[in-house]
């Protein structure tokens, strides 16, 4: 199993959830045979990639914004956002008029208490 598969997605709200401190990679794909790339993508206000089809970042504790400007080579192409394990985190049709997307990444803090491993949302 590839590394950096540390996000899960809520298919209703598109909120992404992962464990704080873990590296995670997001990949943009065009399922219709064309191009797709992140023109620029930022996490928590910091650019993590530009002009690339994938980006890697370390999940921070709490609710953080993942914002990106994407482009696909043809309007209407099926775009997906996946992790290296091919888990679908997001999907939408390519729309040149709506090229910026905001998502929320919830980083769950890992706390060790009395030998028990507890994961909870860190704020």
């Amino acid at each position: 199993m590839p590394d950096n598969c540390n996000l899960t997605a809520d298919r209703v709200t598109k909120v992404l959830t992962g464990t704080a401190g873990k590296d995670t990679t997001v990949q943009i794909n065009n399922l219709d045979g064309g191009n797709a790339l992140f023109v620029t993508i930022s996490y928590d206000g910091n650019e993590i990639a530009a002009g690339k089809a994938s980006a890697t970042f370390t999940i921070k504790a709490g609710d953080k914004k993942l914002s990106y400007v994407y482009e696909g080579s043809s309007a209407g192409d099926q775009i997906t956002i996946t992790d290296p394990c091919d888990t679908i985190l997001d999907a939408f049709p390519c729309d040149p008029g709506n090229f910026r997307i905001d998502r929320t990444v919830v980083g769950l803090a890992v706390q060790v208490t009395g030998g028990d491993l507890t994961v909870k949302a860190g704020k």
Partner: protein, 567 residues
């Protein structure tokens, strides 16, 4: 020496209304639902538990139909129009979509042209070319050619914004009239350097003497033509215009254009916006998401709701929450700033992409050209122009639903990818005298031409061949007692029309165009012809030019304006 200046004037677009019309999203959601397996069709997107990847993608496409964070420009546009009574100005702009090879210079038979072969494309908006030289003409000239697009002119005359953002895949974006007008363009060429003399005969009156005025019944005088005068015009109709959006060459060029720093910088400016920080999908907006997703899924799947009803359901869902979102921090001013930055980015992006598409399109164009060369009879030319990019014949210009519909496998599953960076352009033309001089007939000549363009790295090599069957001799209309302009032909005392020796013309042209910085190009080439229209004998001419694409200058200016705090 050849100089060409291509200018693209970008004007921001005012959206005609705040109508929300997510055609792409609706088409995609309907197509995805239709393509689901029977067992997946009853699955609710809001239900818990694992689902198939196809359902995940379908639910994502449904979400993209209403989620403000996926439709940020559309949502901001809607909110600003609802909250700001003054309406929307200049937020959704783009250079009009074009996928063409443009012919910016004068017609190949015109005075001052340097083109042996014409490309099939038409100017998107307004093009300007300054050229000096000649191909088949004996006399070299300098011409300024202005090109315009009929749709842009139509919108301008109706006091509407010249550009309307109309991305590919939005079939309802333009009406039928506008679709036709967008295929029509025209040009006018002004002769700049062919100042010549003509003889005018008439009465001459002198005055101011003490004895009053005197009149000389008849006299002749040489007058000089204006240095700038109309030497011709043309009308073009682009009948076919195709582009293989899946060809590897196009995709590679597309990626290079999108990641150009001038585009990238503007995208980064957009991405810095915090306009959607008010949104809280984790807590406050979670229920709204679930309710709206249920509603939209039901409307898509009931098979009865129209696109308009779907769009209305989305805007209703937005409208009911505007007050709450405002309390959460939604700011109209911040949304306006996002729209302004988005507008700038879209203009730059579309100019960059259009430039790429111009280099990869195949197209068929019909042209009528009217020429009034100095001292020669007026000529009308009918021309057919076809540009082909090998491997792009089966062009993919279908709407999104056609490429990702229920029974169509994704192109990634075996769709052919062509790879080419060559173009072949063919011209056929017939020239006719408007008023055939004595000794000629209406049909002056027939022409055929072929041009090959191929990229070698960033340089473009061009080979062109031209053949003209001269049915009637070329004629020279000049005043009596003069030398034919540009020649050593002495006319007899009463000659008004000189019929040049008849003969077919063959032209060969080789050229290499080197790209320089900031959109400038340096073409270097040579043209050989067995004769020119008036004089027998081989002619060898060199061409060294300088082309400047004005759009690069515009992009540079936009990049600076997006970063006012930066030097």
């Amino acid at each position: 020496m050849r100089t060409r200046i291509a200018a693209y004037f970008l004007v921001a677009t005012a959206a005609a209304s705040a109508q929300f019309n997510p055609v792409i999203q609706i088409q995609k959601a309907r197509a995805k639902f239709a393509g689901l397996k029977a067992g997946d069709k009853g699955v609710s997107c809001t239900a818990k538990g694992p689902v198939s990847p196809e359902v995940l993608i379908y639910c994502g496409d449904l979400n993209a139909l209403f989620d403000p964070r996926t439709l940020e420009v559309s949502f901001a546009h809607y909110v600003v129009s609802q909250k700001d009574g003054s309406g929307i100005l200049s937020f959704l702009a783009s250079a009009a979509e074009s996928r063409i090879d443009t012919q910016n210079g004068a017609s190949s038979s015109g005075s001052g042209t340097t083109s042996a072969v014409e490309r099939s494309g038409i100017s998107d908006v307004l093009g300007v070319a300054l050229e000096a030289g000649a191909v088949t003409q004996t006399i070299s000239g300098t011409s300024l050619t202005l090109q315009g697009n009929a749709l842009s002119l139509y919108r301008f005359l109706r006091s509407r914004e010249v550009f309307e953002y109309c991305p590919e895949g939005k079939p309802k974006c333009r009406g039928e009239l506008q679709k036709v007008l967008n295929k029509i363009s025209g040009s006018a060429s002004l002769g700049l350097s062919n100042a010549s003399t003509q003889t005018a005969t008439g009465a001459v009156t002198t005055s101011g003497t003490s004895s009053g005025s005197t009149t000389q019944p008849s006299a002749s005088a040489l007058i000089q033509n204006s240095a700038s005068h109309l030497t011709g015009f043309s009308l073009r109709y682009q009948a076919i215009n195709t582009l293989d959006l899946r060809s590897q060459a196009y995709l590679d060029a597309w990626k290079t254009a999108i990641t150009d720093p001038s585009v990238l910088n503007l995208a980064q400016a957009v991405n810095k916006s915090t306009a959607f920080a008010f949104f809280d999908p984790v807590k406050n907006d979670a229920k709204w998401f679930a309710d709206t997703l249920d509603t939209i899924q039901r409307l898509v799947e009931d098979g009865k709701s129209s696109d308009e009803e779907l769009a209305a359901a989305v805007t209703n869902a937005w409208r009911t929450e505007l007050d709450r979102w405002t309390k959460q921090g939604m700011s109209v001013d911040t949304l306006k700033q996002l729209l302004a930055a988005s507008n700038t980015y879209m203009q730059a992006r579309d100019v960059a992409i259009n430039a790429v598409r111009q280099n990869f399109a195949s197209g068929l164009t019909f042209e009528y050209a009217y020429s009034r060369p100095d001292n020669q009879p007026r000529v009308s030319t009918a021309r057919v122009i076809y540009t082909l990019h090998p491997g792009t014949v089966a062009a993919d210009t279908a709407a999104p639903a056609a490429t990702s519909g229920q029974n169509t496998p994704p192109a990634s599953n075996g769709a052919p990818k062509s790879s080419n960076d060559s173009a072949i352009t063919v011209n056929f033309a017939a020239e006719m005298y408007d008023n055939p001089p004595p000794g000629t007939s209406a049909l002056r000549d027939l022409q055929a031409a072929l041009q090959l363009d191929h990229h070698f790295g960033t340089a473009v090599a061009t080979l062109a061949g031209y053949y003209q069957y001269q049915h009637s001799p070329a004629a020279l209309m000049i005043g009596q007692g003069n030398l034919a302009p540009g020649t050593n032909i002495m006319l007899n005392g009463t000659a008004a029309t000189l019929l040049a020796p008849k003969g077919n013309i063959v032209v060969a042209q080789a050229m290499v165009t080197f790209p320089l910085k900031s959109g400038t190009k340096l073409p270097v080439g040579v043209t050989w012809s067995n004769r020119t229209d008036l004089i027998k004998g081989n002619e060898l001419r060199g061409h060294v030019g300088f082309n400047f694409d004005w759009s690069s200058l515009l992009l540079g200016g936009q990049a600076k304006s997006a970063y006012p705090s930066q030097p």
